[in-house]
């Protein structure tokens, strides 16, 4: 059924409104009678609240309502994904409340809320809420928090341990490490990041006193899930009494998957003030302090193998900092989403990983672009380089030797992708890793590396090249896996689509997925245009409103193109089939004699006897004449649960130059060969890769959330937290191999996170390669100029 539009680099239909200031983001929404909320946030990282005096705030001009924790009749926010899922792994769970009641666990935890007539009045009044604090010693260090004598954050979490979760064969891996010819050990830190979507978070709550119903606008990736969580878990308000709407969302990177205190507060506040709308939009400073952070692992890795390059074992112990209390899926990220793909694209027979989740007096940590998989890729790709260096073997050759062979699929990963609900195993279903590696090496000129290094030395630079051969697991699906014992959360992970062809032939596709900049309106339109033979202009895509869209799990985990698109294709198939049956009725032919060519439904052998989809829709939607048993209207809904995750892979190569005097690192070349299967829109794929690569490079070279020992966030604004800039990026040399995914009809895999997953390790390996003359074996990110300069102060080792 495909026509040219599927797979074409069509310009994004969303962009004219986004780039001309006509998008409608949360803060663009104005309503009569709007009130404004400001939240008082803790200045301490660890403190008890003795009392709160709101009298001065209540007396400030324009103040309508002041709330403290005692005024909020709701449950704590839900934590929906314990480590080990429902397997019974002990999780010492502590969840945030809408406003803290007795104590705070990080600087920025909300303590009181002021609702006023203007944002200015709310900001002024929140300053005069007086809290009598009892400050306590804080702990911010991930490993240190588990040590004796550390401040204890929660009574139910001795040594600040949230959980200890393991995966893989311990005995087998221990034996493999013990027996190995070579074992390389290294402590590596995957530093904490602040995700920084361009649009910060915000909500508007509107209570209708007439119907006792609520509407919540939210800058969210998951309006359907938020309705479920806010009603069934937080407020107790019946689910059908709440409507959640995500307007245009200006980036999210995972931070907008979760259930936040402010969502519940705007609902409560609107009700308490008689149904006036309540708007809250965080400042960038609040975003840094109280929207989720990402990564933050300390890992001890051991890679074991033979001197011929064969890797025989991987043993990993990771401490994962989850913050002061747990975010919605915090524990799921460093467990299922991390350690189950720790061996990457390599056939390593023995893999064992132990993950300790840790509380510290820091902002909660949750999924951030890639969510566990960048951390896993960083571990295995650093490990492969360390192993290659130890045995004196070429880095590319070591990788090639250990790749899972193309005929080994479906491949049962020893770190255990796990067993589905029905007992079925989940496999890596496809892959062919070596062609991508070879292509990338050829493009970058790997054989001439020594020449390039020598040339750079003449300019006062140390050149380094780094490889990252990665795999990704996309979809956070199928439901039978993510819902299985020992894995995910108590929810399924299918997607939904509704397709209506209206009387005039115009088509509305309504999706349960939720874009935040990816271009879904374009890619879904391309799919439907292709499926039904229509012009893209005749199709619009709607989403983001629990009123009128079928339930969906939202967009994250690079799942929309695989899972959501298949739901849309199924809905289109149902529409086409019903149209075919109705065409037979209109043309007085047998259904079997109707052939579909684009938007035309023809009688085989009599091409002049035909009806267009628009003609069919007009007649069928009116329904004056219907065949026996057929209901009017072309309106079909489909749900799709994918049989497996998808498995993108590829090779990224970074080339950096380190200034010999300053230690400043410049990324000078970047080659990426990605296999994301077939592409719906190659331009959007490239865009995702560009942004994803830059974000991963940002972690390697610049980004780091830094806390003082007292728990103050020192990198608390963009003046101190360095985000990558376009001018710092080289031209990205993108190429592809194409191994279609077998689990969806168009063979796509997902690309939202691939760039981020691959690029951090590529750049890290390049910087460490550049520092080889200084005897540097490993250095932790970010590779800031002072850190690299210091590493170079060791005696240069000259051969």
């Amino acid at each position: 059924m495909t026509t040219d539009v599927l797979g074409s680099p069509v310009k994004r239909v969303e962009d004219p409104r986004f780039i001309t200031g006509k998008g409608r983001y949360l803060d663009d929404i104005q309503m009569t009678g709007m009130t404004y909320m400001a939240i008082l946030r803790s200045p301490y990282a660890n403190a008890n609240i003795r009392s709160i005096d709101t009298s001065a705030a209540k007396a400030m001009p324009g103040v309508i309502l002041v709330l403290t924790g005692a005024d909020v009749p709701y449950n704590p926010l839900p934590m929906a994904w314990p480590a080990g899922g429902s397997s019974g792994v002990q999780n010492n769970i502590n969840m945030p409340r809408a406003l803290a009641t007795d104590d705070v666990k990080w600087t920025g935890e909300g303590v009181a809320a002021v609702i006023a007539e203007t944002p200015e009045q709310a900001a002024d009044a929140v300053e005069v809420v007086h809290v009598d604090w009892e400050p306590l010693p804080a702990v911010v260090d991930t490993e240190g928090a588990t040590q004796p004598g550390a401040p204890q954050l929660h009574e139910n979490a001795p040594n600040n341990v949230v959980f200890v979760w393991t995966v893989g064969d311990k005995a087998g891996t221990d034996a493999a490490v013990d027996a190995a010819e070579v074992v390389v050990r290294q402590r590596i830190v995957n530093q904490r990041l602040i995700p920084n979507p361009m649009e910060v978070r915000g909500d508007i709550g509107l209570y209708n006193p007439g119907t006792d119903e609520y509407t919540v606008w939210m800058s969210s990736q998951t309006p359907h899930i938020q309705r479920l969580l806010l009603t069934a878990f937080v407020t107790g308000i019946p689910e059908h009494k709440v409507r959640c709407i995500s307007p245009d969302v200006g980036g999210a990177f995972g931070t907008k998957i979760f259930c936040y205190a402010d969502m519940a507060l705007v609902m409560l506040a609107s009700k308490l003030i008689g149904g006036r709308p309540v708007k809250w939009v965080e400042t960038r400073r609040e975003n840094y302090q109280s929207t989720t952070h990402g990564r933050d692992h300390v890992t001890y890795l051991e890679i074991a193998g033979k001197r011929d390059g064969e890797v025989t074992g991987l043993r990993v112990k990771t401490y994962a900092n989850l913050g002061g209390r747990l975010s919605t899926i915090g524990p799921g990220v460093p467990t299922t989403l991390y350690a189950r793909v720790l061996a990457g694209c390599y056939k390593i027979p023995n893999v064992y990983c132990e993950v300790t989740g840790v509380y510290t007096n820091t902002t909660f940590v949750d999924a951030y672009r890639g969510a566990g998989r960048p951390e896993a890729t960083y571990v295995i790709e650093r490990a492969m380089d360390l192993f290659a260096a130890e045995i004196g073997m070429d880095r590319a050759a070591v990788r090639r030797k250990n790749f899972i062979a193309p005929d080994a699929f479906p491949y049962d990963n020893p770190s255990g992708l796990g067993t589905a609900v029905n007992g079925e195993k989940i496999y890596i279903d496809s892959g062919n890793y070596e062609p991508a590696l070879n292509k990338a090496l050829m493009t970058v000129g790997y054989d001439d590396l020594d020449k390039a290094k020598a040339e750079a030395r003449t300019r006062g630079k140390h050149l380094g090249l780094g490889l990252s051969t990665y795999i990704e697991v996309c979809g956070v699906a199928p439901s039978k896996w993510i819902g299985a014992v020992g894995e995910g959360w108590g929810a399924a992970m299918w997607e939904s689509a509704n397709l209506k062809v209206h009387l005039t032939g115009k088509v509305i596709l309504t999706m349960g997925t939720q874009p935040q900049g990816q271009g879904h309106e374009t890619t879904y339109s391309q799919i439907i245009a292709s499926e039904l033979g229509l012009a893209m202009d005749d199709i619009i895509v709607q989403h983001s409103d629990t009123l009128g869209t079928p339930f969906g799990y939202g967009s994250y985990g690079s799942r929309t193109s695989s899972v959501g698109s298949t739901a849309a294709i199924k809905a289109a198939g149902k529409v086409r089939e019903k149209a075919r049956r109705y065409a037979a009725h209109m043309l007085e032919a047998s259904v079997d004699d109707i052939e579909v060519v684009g938007a035309e439904y023809r009688v085989k052998g009599s091409p002049e006897k035909k009806k267009t989809l628009q003609e069919i829709a007009f007649a069928l939607d009116l329904g004056f004449s219907l065949p026996e048993g057929m209901e009017p209207y072309l309106d079909e809904t489909a749900y799709h649960d994918t049989p497996n995750c998808t498995w993108p892979f590829g090779t990224h190569i970074a080339v950096v130059e380190v200034d010999e005097d300053t230690g400043k690192v410049d990324l000078v070349r970047y080659v990426a060969v990605d296999d994301v299967g077939n592409k719906i829109n190659p331009m959007i794929v490239d865009g995702q890769l560009h942004g994803g690569i830059a974000q991963g490079v940002g972690q390697a070279l610049w980004e780091e959330a830094i806390y003082g020992d007292d728990g103050q966030l020192l990198s608390g604004s963009m003046l101190d937290y360095a985000l990558p800039r376009a001018s710092w990026m080289p031209n990205l040399e993108l190429d592809e191999t194409v191994t279609p995914s077998p689990v969806n009809p168009i063979g796509v895999k997902g690309v939202g996170e691939a760039g981020t997953i691959a690029s951090t390790a590529a750049v890290a390996n390049a910087v460490i390669d550049a520092l080889k003359p200084f005897g540097v074996r490993h250095l932790d990110m970010p590779f800031t100029a002072p850190k690299v300069w210091r590493a170079m102060q060791s005696q240069e080792v000259r051969s």
């Binding site: 944002p119 200015e120 900001a123 002024d124 400042t283 960038r284 400073r285 005097d661 300053t662 400043k664 610049w702 830094i706 020192l714 990198s715 604004s717 963009m718 003046l719 101190d720 937290y721 360095a722 985000l723 800031t784 100029a785 002072p786 300069w789 210091r790």
Partner: protein, 288 residues
């Protein structure tokens, strides 16, 4: 990101502006381009009770040629106006060398050279530049006008010789000695773009030996300074690589070197040496 409430004045003459400052000692702040002050106010790190917006003072606009071959830059001249001024870029190329890297396009379009100098952020670039140029700063108050040499203007982090009732009205850059070369070299703090270290050099040779050496350094200490030990060591040498390196080794001498999450004192001091050396090399390369 909402500033605390403040009063707002927009005077139309310098006399009126300094009168407002005199009547509100310690509680009024001067607003020019606003690129530093407004950000601080939005974070409520600065909470002036009164803003005196000098944007309407026509007498503070424009770049003038001084008869001695120098340059006068009015207090409202933006970075962009300097970059676009053939007069400024030809007479004092050092200005554009430093300004081209300041902030981003929006900051350069709104931010003023004088505002940066009066604000005296220890990591901003312009103080090093006016020090190396031996500029003087024209200051007005109700009691008249005085002219301060840049070398005695910067006293500490955000602290200058300006009194509470004074307004910086003009920067005067004297004609530079013939044959000197100028250069600016700096290392940016990647988040803010401010300089971890910045070095401005005005250097010239006469008859094979260095006769002019003026080095302004910013980012290293709590105020920008002239690296006089470097200058003394360089004067009289042949300006060869060895002499430059030996002189630049004194770049952080005599100052308390700062330390923060972006660079410790050891690194800062070393970067001062590296960037002073590079600035001198480049300046000599550009010298006639």
């Amino acid at each position: 990101m909402i500033p605390a409430a403040f009063e707002y004045d927009r005077p139309t003459t310098v006399a009126e502006a300094v009168d407002i400052l005199a009547r509100n000692p310690g509680t009024a702040k001067v607003l020019a381009g606003g690129q530093s002050l407004l950000g601080l106010m939005r974070l409520r790190l600065a909470r002036p009770e009164r803003l005196v917006d000098i944007g309407g003072l026509a007498e503070l606009r424009g770049i003038r040629a001084l008869p001695d071959g120098g340059l006068a830059i009015g207090a409202l001249v933006t970075y962009r106006e300097v970059l676009d001024s053939a007069l400024a870029t030809s007479r004092v190329p050092l200005l554009a060398m430093a300004i081209a890297d300041i902030g981003d396009v929006q900051v350069r379009n709104r931010g003023t050279v004088a505002g940066s100098i009066a604000h005296a952020d220890p990591a901003s670039d312009m103080p090093a530049v006016v020090l190396a140029l031996e500029a003087s700063l024209v200051v007005r108050s109700g009691s008249g006008e005085r002219v301060v040499n840049a070398t005695s203007f910067f006293e500490g982090a955000f602290v200058t010789d300006l009194a509470e009732d004074e307004l910086l009205t003009e920067i005067r850059i004297p004609a530079q000695p013939t044959g000197v070369g100028m250069a600016y070299r700096h290392l940016e703090q990647p988040a803010s773009g401010y300089s971890i270290v910045g070095a401005a050099a005005v250097v010239g040779r006469t008859g094979g030996s260095i006769t002019t050496a003026r080095i302004g350094v910013t980012g290293v200490a709590d105020a920008a300074y002239r690296a006089s030990a470097v200058e003394a060591a360089l004067i009289g040498t042949d300006g060869g690589a060895a002499a430059i390196a030996a002189a630049a080794a004194h770049a952080a001498e005599g100052v308390a070197v700062g330390s923060d999450i972006h660079a410790d004192a050891i690194y800062r001091a070393e970067m001062a040496r590296v960037h002073v050396r590079r600035a001198i090399e480049a300046a000599l390369g550009a010298a006639g």
